[in-house]
């Protein structure tokens, strides 16, 4: 069973903990992303799992075997894993074919078998025509595919990927991330994917683990993370958001400021009358100019915010509004489909369903 367990994993550089008491269980065949800003410890965690770094505390298990701990350190070459690096790390002095074939040297395959496998995976990533080229002659995207084929051809138990798409242009990135997801669904290798790009994580992963300053902040399915962020950090990092601070009054009520009371979802675990935040996603807020319809929705239970259009940025596929609520000296950010166009300074009503107003602590 190619499951991975991180139990209290800790790594310090000088005295600062880069990874701080991390717990994570990754299931067999699961695709989990480690998501976070730079310096959050995600790459360090990945390198700990790969065996390039020794933990200062805790342990790493694959299946039932301990592979890293204070007493055990299985070297990377014996972990039966593969890794794709941010720099691709494709060897410049070997051809594409030789690069991909390299890992098979350590398995007991006949040359014929090995060659067959290599060709198979080269077709899989659509590089068969370039098999005798050298990496210097390839584009970034092509090199990335070489790295992919090289990692997969050895049939690893676990696949590790360290920000593999960050050096590609936006278009290629999108293409490659669906490619990665597609391959995963076909081959189903346990995969741990490191990225700072939340869209990438959402598009590829079964679950996302959000890290900050070496600690695990939240782990869950993409939808969960997005819809029910546990902390302000997660809310802001994963997707765009509005954050309103205020006091949670219990019973799904939140007091934001004078005259602004919001009905919220969640908060069951919070004490009444404690400080809290509300997270409203810009996409989840509806804008309308028609006051009567807005009031009607308010009566149905929606939270109503009355304000003026302060700024709008037209993106072609969406419009990004900043709406000022003069009564409460607050700004809300709202993203609408392109068909909704309002004027600068126009009186406008923003509506948010309580389910979309998530209470979070910190």
């Amino acid at each position: 069973m190619a499951t991975v367990s991180l139990v209290g994993l800790t790594k310090k550089f000088a005295t600062l903990p880069a990874v701080d008491n991390l717990h994570l269980e990754i299931g067999d065949g699961e695709f989990v992303s480690l998501l976070g800003p730079s310096g959050c410890g995600k790459t360090t965690t990945l390198r700990l799992i790969a065996g390039f770094l020794e933990p200062d505390g805790g342990e790493i298990k694959v299946g039932n075997e301990v592979i890293s701990s204070s007493t055990v350190m299985v070297p990377p070459e014996r972990r039966a894993m593969s890794m794709i690096f941010q720099s691709y790390a494709v060897w410049p002095h070997m051809t594409v074919f030789q690069n991909v074939a390299y890992g098979l040297k350590f398995q007991k395959l006949s040359t014929r078998e090995a060659d067959q496998r290599v060709s198979q995976f080269l077709s899989l990533v659509r590089l068969d025509a370039l098999k005798d080229r050298y990496p210097a002659e390839l584009s970034g995207g092509q090199q990335q595919r070489v790295a992919l084929a090289r990692a997969l051809v050895v049939a690893p138990r676990i696949l590790l990927m360290d920000e593999p798409l960050s050096n590609l242009d936006a278009h290629l990135r999108e293409e490659m991330r669906s490619e990665i997801r597609r391959l995963h669904e076909e081959i189903r290798i346990t995969t741990i994917y490191v990225t700072h790009d939340q869209a990438e994580a959402m598009a590829t992963s079964d679950r996302i683990a959000v890290l900050n300053s070496g600690r695990m902040v939240q782990v869950g399915r993409p939808g969960e993370i997005f819809d029910h962020p546990k902390t302000r950090f997660v809310a802001e990092f994963v997707g765009k958001t509005n954050i309103l601070s205020g006091r949670f009054d219990g019973g799904n009520q939140m007091f934001v400021r004078d005259g602004l009371q919001i009905r919220v979802a969640g908060g069951a675990e919070f004490n009444a009358r404690s400080d809290a935040f509300v997270c409203l996603r810009p996409h989840n807020i509806v804008l309308m100019a028609d006051e009567s319809r807005a009031r009607e929705m308010e009566r149905q239970g929606y939270n109503l915010f009355a304000g003026l259009v302060r700024r709008q940025i037209y993106f072609g596929d969406a419009v990004d509004y900043t709406v000022e609520l003069p009564a409460h000296s607050l700004n809300l950010r709202i993203i609408t489909p392109p068909s909704q166009r309002y004027e600068q300074g126009q009186k406008i009503y923003a509506l948010a369903h309580p389910d979309h107003c998530v209470v979070i602590k910190e």
Partner: protein
Amino acid sequence: MLAAETSGRYWGGLKLKGWDSTLPVWVGASLLLVLLMAFPLGAIFSTSVRNQAGLTFGNYAEVFTKPAFLTAIRNTIIISFWVGLIAVIVGGLLGWLVTRTDLPWKKTVRALVMASFVTPPFLGAFAWTLLAGPNAGALNKLFRAVTGGDEFLFNIFTMTGLIFVMALYSFPYAFSMIANVCELISSDLEDAAVILGANKLKTAWTITLPLALPALLSGFIIAFLHSLSLFGAPAILGLPAGIHTITTQIWTLFQYPPRLELAAAFSVPLLLATMVLIGLQKRILGRRGFSTVGGRGGQKRVVKLGWGRVPVFILVLAILSCSVFLPYWILLKAAFSRAWAMPLDWGNFTVENFSYVLFQYSDTQRAILNTFKLGILTATTGTLLAMLIAYITNRNILRGARYLSFFALAPLVIPGIVLAVGLFIVYTQPPVVLYGTVWILFIAFLTKEMPIGFSQAESTFKSIHVELEDASRILGANRLVSLKDVTAPLARSGLIAAWCFIFIGVIRELSAAILLFAPSSKVISVVIFDLKEEGQVGAISVLGILLLAVSFLIILAVQRLLGRDLVTARE
């Protein structure tokens, strides 16, 4: 795919981490390195405080009170000081001219500086005895012919002559340091001065100079240290005039009956002085090995020499003639002459010297073979060891890996003759007697050339992304296999350069070989020294030319490989 093995083990109370099978290699290499350094140094320290009676400081007392020894110490300090000063002035001037002005034919100038660098100082000294011996020296003869008088222009067998020759072959070190720094100084800083009204000279004096000061100081120290450790030049030029230096004095103490404990006591202060000065030099330069000067990036415009262009170039050429053209010319002449002091006419022309050295005299034949054998062996072993050690320090494989780089660079601090004293003491007695064999020379050369091999290997590895090795390791290759399959091929040109540097260093080494050689393990430098004592000018010239030719061929090959100028691109 191979299954990962559970391999936690306890061994006594010592936690034995899960078995990286390549560990013995790293530990072995590190141990070897440390022992190479530790044995001779330990031997020197312990011998210096012993005599027949037991532990004593009497040896030091004798070294520092006996007039002959004090004179040697004083001579050494005076000589080294002046050498350092001249080296820094000449090296600095040339460095600035080559990097910051529109001096013509800069490439040629750099090449000639490189040639000065490659010429063994003892060979240069020997050539200068032919050029400037007061009566028979070619230059003095010319001078007499021109002036019609009886005087000589320049007697090389004097303190001044010795300083002159030693400076000629020390200035490339200063040049290298200073040229590197001058390259970095942005013109903006100088432009600022010019705008404010300073002329070219004033700008150079008030702006460029202070910025380059750390490099100048550092160059002085390096040249000073280099001259401290020279043996051949003082022996060839100083001894005939009755001038002893510390190195020649140490050598003399080995004559029968030998006074090893005095030699050791002499060596220790030399060692300490070198350590202090190197420490100072590193401090001055900061950790990067060249001073970071103000003005990041910025333009680098060239100072126009104007009408001074040609005269300055002639000056530069004159300087470089002293270290390259004149000595090489006289060596060639002497190699092909029956009587070196006579003009090279048909009657005087001969190839006898070549045939003698190559085919008749067994000592030279043996020495040539020994030299190249030792060169190849040391270069290969040294590169391998340097590669392993640089790998360890670069990839941090062992705990305390950075101390290892200290050991790898430590020999810089040990003058060749001091190292030889230590090795002599260790290997002329049981349990391991290597004296009398080529192996003691091998150890001496390996130790001495380690720093250059290591620093070259280190800078090469730094340029290879660690992820390239990680990629092979995760696919199943252990560290050694990764080193072989990925790192070494990519580091190839750098490692070849390291091999060549070590080779050249070995074939011209004298100050250690002179104490450690035995009749059957002579090398070219020692034979040249031997023949000098017999006055066999023709044979010496042939050997000298051989050394130079081989060295240049290799340097050219390396420059082609690395595609850069070797003098200034090094630390």
